[in-house]
Symmetry: C2
Subunit: 159 residues, 2 copies
């Protein structure tokens, strides 16, 4: 929990510096959203974050969430993903080491993994194709063992 608190403090400090540098106002809503984003363990979409915050008693609007997410993306505290569905999904990105995703086609559960060769591919391709590559996303899609063996998997939400 100490570690978690430090993360909260660190990202709050980073966000504050960013807001000051950009002359954006330091509103409660922005800090509330930041805090909730860093409380969530998993990837989330705007609607679920909205409902989550509503259920915790925050009075917040979707528009503010969309606006604040833009800021968090801009200062690299958040990463945006699109795992094949129409809804964008987000993930906190401070103090969580670079990783990629493995998505179960059935239950859509997201697993994470890390492989140094991706960085190598990234820098080599940047050189060859004369690109200044800033980031990448590698998604592997497949069926988890449970699904293969039993025909369904535990993370599945809808029948």
């Amino acid at each position: 929990m100490l570690q978690a608190t430090n993360v909260q403090e660190s990202v709050k400090k980073i966000f504050t510096e960013y807001l000051e540098k950009k002359s954006h106002r330091k509103t409660d809503e922005r800090y509330n959203i930041l805090e909730e984003v860093y409380n969530l363990d998993d990837h989330f979409d705007v609607e679920s974050l909205f409902l989550h915050m509503k259920s915790k008693g925050h009075s917040i609007s979707r528009a503010t969430i969309y606006n604040t997410i833009e800021l968090l993306l801009d200062c690299q505290l958040l990463t945006r993903h699109q795992f094949g569905k129409n809804t964008a999904r987000f993930e906190r990105s401070f103090s969580f080491r670079q990783h990629d995703h493995l998505i179960c086609q059935d239950c859509e559960h997201v697993f994470e993994f890390c492989d140094p060769r991706i960085q190598q591919i990234q820098s080599m391709m940047g050189e060859i194709l004369n690109f200044k590559i800033t980031n990448h996303s590698l998604n592997l899609f497949g069926k988890c063992r449970e699904l293969e063996e039993k025909g369904s998997c535990k993370h599945r939400k809808t029948a």
Copy 2:
């Protein structure tokens, strides 16, 4: 052109076999969409395919395009991508070797590349995490040389 014709003939045959196996009807619209998809050199979204077909004199509806795309995805003649925007983009996938994408953040132009290490990562991660991986998508995002040097790039469509 001979090669192109062969591709058209091949995909038509594959599609026909698929439709017959699944007991789906062989409609003109479905074959028209397949042909246009394989005429397009670049990645496309539903709206641009719709407008393209309209401009060529086809009377077609968006609903039919969405439906047919589902079939083409199912028989692997088409691949779906989501390059960070809300709109899904598609790409013909028969006789075009496996590749990944490098996307310019500015003009959104898509470049293609190939690296065998990705397949290695894919199979290794499948073993380690006990996943039956069926496919992957690796996208590198960055700035093309022109953009870096001149502040803008030729593929850019909108100011």
